[in-house]
Each structure stands twice: as structure tokens, then as C-alpha cells.
Amino acid sequence: MKVSNKEADERLLVEAAQKDPARFTVLYEANFERVYAFVARRVNHRADAEDITAEVFQHALENLPKFEWRGVPFVAWLYRIAANQVMNRWDANSRESGNSSSTEPSVDFDEAEIERTERLSKLFRHVADLPADQRRVIEMRFAEEKSIREIAAKLGKTTGAIKQLQFRAVQALRERMHGKVGKSLGGRNA
């Protein structure tokens, strides 16, 4: 079977990081959005998503020497760790609150699930590629959960201008998600 270039590249990255943990950041940069998307879809609070994402990468860094290449993408291993951490967190939370009524999070990941996760991580990456003023508005509005008024004050613009930037940013994101604008994405995520 012909090994795809992408797989071979990833394998080299993993092996480099196994030899030199300082190289792990390359794997981190390549997979951060995917892991975050996977986790965020399964927990209710941003703080939980951040904690668990941190745990996943810390665990991965610590256990990287034990990782064996079996032809499965590296991210599948990260998803497996993430699924465990999500379950642990849910266990701990339901033990702490003494109520087990909250529904157990689904950590099954079939192809459809993985596709949805990939889609979401792609959206995160597109945000990073937006023009700077649009990007800042989207980050502040969604990631930092600020109001239009707060953003306007911070950026020294009118609320109308911020709403306009937000609108144009979301439009641009929709276009990029539909592949209407290739820009730098073709090479990275195709």
C-alpha cells in the first residue's frame, strides 16, 4: 500500500517529537483546533473545555514515548485521550454533585462525528485567517463573550461599525467553509 505523503509527514513529526519533546509544539499547532473542537462539543462550559484540552496535550506529551505508529492518524490517539478525559471529568462532576441525572456525554466517535469535529476545527482555523479587524471582533464577541458595546469601546469604533465587521466576518467564514475562497486553506486542510 502506498503511504500517502501526509501520513509520512505526520509520522516524521511524531518521531521527531519522541526524540526531542521540544518538537511537540509542532504537533500541538497542527492539532489544537481539532482537540478543542472535539472537547468543546462534549462539555457545557468553556472552563471545562480549556481544562480538558490542556490535560489532553499534557497527557499526550507525557506519554508520547509510548505512542506506537500503527498507520492511524496521530489525531485519533488524541481523540482517544480526549474521550477518556471527558468521561473522567463527567465522572468526577457527577460524583461531586451527587447527582447522576445529567446525561452521560457521548464520546463515541464514528465517521460522522469526526466529520463534524473536523468541520468545527476548520471553522476555528478560518477565523485565524480572517483580516485582522474582523478576526479581533469575532474573537472578542465569541471567544471572550463581549458585547458589541464593549468591543466598540475597546476598538474605538461605533457599535454600528462593529456589527458591520461582525457581519462581514461571518459572511467571509461561510464562504470559506463552502470553499468559495481557497486562499491558503487548500494546502493545509485538503
Binding site: A37, F57, L123, F124, E139, R141, A143, E145, V170, M177
Partner: protein, 486 residues
Amino acid sequence: MRKQTPAEKLDKLIGQLQQPGKKTLAPENSGSGEAIELARLAGELRVLPRPEFKTRLRANLERRATMATAAKAVPETQTKITPYLSVKGALAAIEFYKKAFGATEGLRFMQPDGRVGHAEISIGEAKFMLADEFPEIGFRSPQSLGGSSINIHLNVPDVDVLGRQAVAAGAKVVRPVADQFYGERSGHFADPFGYTWVISTQKEALSTEEMHRRAAELNAQQAQADVDDAKSSPTEKLRHLMPYVIISRADKWLEFVKDAFGAEEIFRAKSPDGKSIMHAEVKIGHSIIEVGDTNDQNPPMPTAMSLRVDDVDAIYRKGLEAGATSLQAPSNPPYGGRGASLRDPNGNHWYIFKSEPGSDVFHGFGTVTPYLHPVRAGRLIEFLQRAFGAEETYRAESPDGVVHHAQVRIGDSVIGMGDAHGIYQQMPSTLHFYVRDVDSVYQQALRAGAKSIRPPENQPYGERNAGVQDAFGNHWWIATPLGSQS
């Protein structure tokens, strides 16, 4: 009313989405149309990661990676000890260690019966393991054994903070946090599961020599406290005139007195090269014997000592078994009681005795009492009276003037002596005792005819001392703990 622009319409929908608990758009907003499609995308953006979080996590991983590289440099085959605790109620214990010590749980295996079969816990960099007790395989907890003989020493950045945290979580203070002479600040805490944790923070990095020096200082302070104690209490106390045995292979001798007489080693300071013993102290009953290896300045001075025991024959046998040779087998001497004599492997004499009840002989003797063999005991007694204010308390003399046995009291201590004769020839000894004012006693001893070995000077181990030699070659080291002169 002004018509809403698409940007305003989208923002209104986003506003709806951002209400807590909102997962989908209100039904009236479902359907198609650009605004709705954009709002759906915006809905997905609600979980957008904070860029600041991504940056911070990256920095955190870089730091961990650096540490991992450093850790990797240590060979993986290094010898390591990991405590494995058996506890009754392992789940509760894990929760306790998390609360008390900020521990994290790495791994846990549960048994089908609900017991924890194995768990791995980390406190900072330190790792330990624990499991529920399994009495069926002899794996018992301190609670079923009635205590644990193992203490766990836990180094932390701030013992005061962690100590308080542990107490808040339910630990009990066994010994409060305090600065220790070896450069640590530590306290002992009992957890609810029967283990004692010595929580400690390194305050100073000390050399072994410095630790020994401080230990000696502390000992001198303790000795002074004992002196004060003895003055205030009529009950039997530590004797403050101590034989100082100078011999070769002091380490072997320490083993001998432990084996033969059940001595307890209470202090040992090695020479800077670690090869010999500079100073050590053992306790037998209520008495202390000091010992040091012989060197250029200190020629060997084996010493004769009386040893008060309950069973002369048994101790004599133990002495022989431990390597001593017999000077005199157990017998009933004419002055009553029972006695026997041994010579230990380092050349010291031991006069083992049990005194006759009500007899004046050996009255005031401690468990160990130095015993001298001067050529003329009478002359030594006179010297001791003039030099140290000694008091003669007993003398058995034959008509020809030979002193068979005499006793003098110096301060709170007694020494015995008998004229040199037969196998009991002169054994010049070193004796060490505490006085209120070393300088005046030193002058007094010189006036009584002693030769100076060393005039009074302050010692780094916390005492001011001086040495004099009497006409029979005995060395007398007089000392006053520093800071106690009146």
C-alpha cells in the same frame, strides 16, 4: 420604524444564541435565508477557543517539554523507592490526599468487590501508590495493625502553607512545624489513615560538617538543660562527669557496647574525611560515655569503668560473647554483692558489679562510673579535693597503706579508684565534666599542681573548655556550656 440592516439582524440572532442554556435558534427563526444561515455559523462560533488560551497552553507545553528533556537525561534504570500504602478506605484516602496535599490521581484499578486494587498518586513530582487493605493476603493497613512504623518524608516548597492545608483537610499535628538544626523547617502530621507525614521545606543547604557542628551545639545546650534539671531535681539524673574513651576503631567499640551492654548510641560525628569517629556518645542506663578515635593529638587512653547491673553473671557472659576477655570470673567479693571483670576488645576495663543492699561500697555510683588506678590513690584524692573541690566518700585501706577501693564525689558525680596492683595497673584516663566557671576551676587545678593541656577557649560546638593533666597522667576536661556562665 427604520428597517433593520442585515448586520443588525444577524447581531440580534447572535444575541439570542448567547443567552445561557440556548442551544438552537427560536423556531420562528428556523428556515432559510442568508441571515439564518449566518446565524447558524455564528452558533458554532460560540465554542471558539480563546486565542490567549491557545498561546498559554503552548507555553505550558514548552515548559513541560523542557522538563521532560531534563528528566530524560537521567538513566531510566535508576534505583527508585516508591512508598506503597495500605489503607482502610482507599477512596476516602485518595480524596484526603488531594485535599490535604493537592495530590493528583494518575491511575486507579477497582476490584469487583469495590475495593481499590491499585492507585497511583502524585504530589508535585513525588509519586506514591496505595490500595485498600487486603488482609487475606497479609496486606494490612495501619488501622488494623495498630499503627505504622514508617513515616513519609514529604518535601514541599512551603511547609507552613501545606501544613495548614493538611490540618484543614483533617490531618493532626504530631509535632508542630519548626526550624530544624539540619537546615530544614518541618513538622509531623498524622493523616486519618494511620500514616505520619514529615512535611519539610529546605531552608538552608548545609554541609554534613555544619550539621554535625550544630548537632553538637544542641547537645551541649541539652547537657546544660540536664545540669539545671539535675540541680532542681533530687531524683537520679544523667551524670555529668563522663569518661571520654580514646581508642582506635571506636566504631567497633560502639558495636561492642551495644551488643554487650545494650548501650544506646545518641550521637556520632565523623572526622571530615569520614574515616574515623571524631566524637560519639553512648548511653548505658543513666550514664553517658563519650568516645573518639585516637589521632596525633589524642593518644589512645583506654579507660576502666564500673558497670552497675542487675545480673552480673548474665552481663559477664554477654560481654564475653561480644568479644571481651575475662579478667576475673563472677564471684562474691568480701565486701558483699557480686562482681566480675572484663577487658573489652579495645582495651577498656569493665568492673561489673551488683552491690549489697545498704552497703556504702559503690554508693552514688551511676550505671557507669569511671574507675582509676593511680599508683597512690591517696595523692590523687588530695589533688581532686584541691583542684575540683572533690569530697572523699569512702575508702578501704589495708594496714600497709594500700587503698583497695575509694570513692570521691565531684559535683553530682562519683568516681571510683584503687591503687594500681596486679592486673589492675595504671590506666591514665580522660574525664570530661561540667562546672559553673571553667576559667576559675582551671586556675584552681593549676594551683593544685595540674599541668595545662589547653587553657580555656570557646569551642564551636557550644562550650568553653580547658584541659589539665594530673600527676598520674589523667586528663581532665572541664567545660562550661557557652551562654551559661554566671
